[in-house]
């Protein structure tokens, strides 16, 4: 094995691991991570062996004689769900195969994708607030409950974002968001407004539901990635408990039944 080949394997392996951890921390399912990493490796002659743990990705590249020429592992970064990264990497992997990108080209494109901005914070707050109002209507709420849910969602999400920024434990972030949102909704109930507080209460915390871990848990279980599926499922359960705890704390404070 020549030195050049060795370097190339190292570069490819490191690139694949980066792709894997970015996908894992952005909320991709295990099968998607495997498919994307394999696809990027198709142009090379190496066979890939991938292992995905809940918080890390390991990879070994074997050459034609089945000798391991690269082995590595990388742990995930603390980063929230980001579908722009997932779709960007998926698209990149196709382009790379079809147009025969070099490793450096893929690396440059990956760096560009990671740097893409999120939606502006105000837009996120307003649209998630609208989503909360929409849920409230779907569950049978009327205009006053919808407005209260909008306000509660915006406040709760703001607090959660701040908590995430200060690097609190993720479950505590969700607990804070849930507590603030339900305190906001409960204030109107306590003030004696004639509203159906069940609708306002139950939907004001819905923006916190762990939808991505929940659905990924099932996707992984169906794929046979039982361990990852269980971990994601329990993670989702912990978030749900944190939401419930926030809600209960607010009800206790207001002494609502």
């Amino acid at each position: 094995m020549s030195q050049e080949q060795n370097n190339e394997a190292k570069e490819l392996g490191s690139l694949l691991l980066d792709v894997g951890v970015y996908l894992l921390s952005s909320g991709a399912s295990c099968s998607r991570i495997r498919i994307t990493m394999r696809r990027l490796a198709t142009s090379s002659d190496y066979t890939t062996h991938i292992s995905i743990a809940p918080k890390s990705v390991s990879l070994t590249l074997n050459d034609e004689d089945d000798n391991a020429i690269f082995s590595g592992m990388r742990t995930i970064l603390a980063q929230g769900v980001n579908f722009k990264t997932i779709s960007g990497i998926s698209r990149l992997s196709w382009e790379a195969v079809e147009k025969g990108f070099s490793i450096q080209q893929v690396r440059d494109e990956l760096n560009r994708l990671i740097a893409l901005p999120h939606y502006p914070r105000l837009i996120v707050l307003i649209f998630v607030g609208l989503a909360g109002a929409g849920f409230c209507f779907g569950f049978g709420g009327k205009a006053p409950e919808m407005i209260i849910t909008f306000g509660a969602t915006v406040c709760g999400l703001f607090v959660r974002q701040e908590a995430v920024k200060h690097k609190f434990n993720p479950y505590i972030c969700v607990f804070m968001g849930s507590l603030v949102a339900s305190l906001f909704a409960g204030a109107f109930v306590k003030a004696g407004l004639d509203i159906n507080f069940e609708h306002a209460f139950a939907t004001s915390v819905l923006f916190l539901i762990p939808g991505v871990p929940l659905i990924n848990a099932f996707t992984d279980l169906i794929d046979g990635n039982i361990l990852n599926g269980l971990v994601r499922g329990i993670n989702a359960l912990m978030f749900a408990l944190a939401i419930a705890l926030g809600l209960l704390a607010a009800m206790l404070i207001y002494n609502l039944k």
Partner: protein, 162 residues
């Protein structure tokens, strides 16, 4: 509840889906599809409820339609199907049932009074509904992806090239 109300609910389900799409930072080119997907799932769910179907079945039908329509949209918009399917299915999540289950559980920790059996029955009912709806949503979204993946248009193209 008449059909105008159902259309209204579907409309707001679309906004619910869109809000979650933005929270998950989806690419802007998929936002409209996510709105349509959320509205479609909501319309199917509330429409079936109107036709007196069970809430679990209605939610499952909504999720299944979102799951199957996510495949062609994924090819048109060049995104993985889940990017479209996960935000769209979130308005179908049984928030109120989960909430009632949680309150019921808290009541069950109290002393056993005359209405204890009633609370127990309601809590079990709400809990079972919430659990099964969530499972049916996940299955409804995940299964179409697995059924259709084998015939991915892009895979076919790749094999031909080789």
């Amino acid at each position: 509840m008449d059909w105008i109300m159902i259309l209204g609910k579907a409309f707001w389900c679309g906004w619910g889906a869109l809000g979650f799409g933005i929270l998950f930072n989806v690419p802007p080119r998929t936002l409209f599809a996510i709105w349509i997907g959320g509205a479609m799932g909501g319309f199917l769910k509330f429409g079936l409820l109107q036709l007196s179907a069970g809430v679990v079945l209605a939610s499952f039908a909504g999720a299944l339609v979102i799951g199957f329509s996510s495949i062609p949209i994924a090819h048109i918009r060049h995104v993985p199907p889940m990017i479209f399917a996960i935000p769209s299915v979130i308005p179908l999540i049984p928030g109120v049932f989960a909430y009632r289950t949680m309150l019921g559980m808290m009541k069950l920790t109290g002393t056993i009074g005359p209405d204890y059996n009633q609370v127990l029955a309601e809590t079990a009912n709400n809990g079972a509904k919430a659990l099964f709806i969530i499972m049916s949503l996940a299955v409804g979204v995940a299964v179409p992806m697995h059924l259709m993946r084998k015939e991915s248009v892009k895979n076919v193209r790749l094999i031909k090239r080789k």
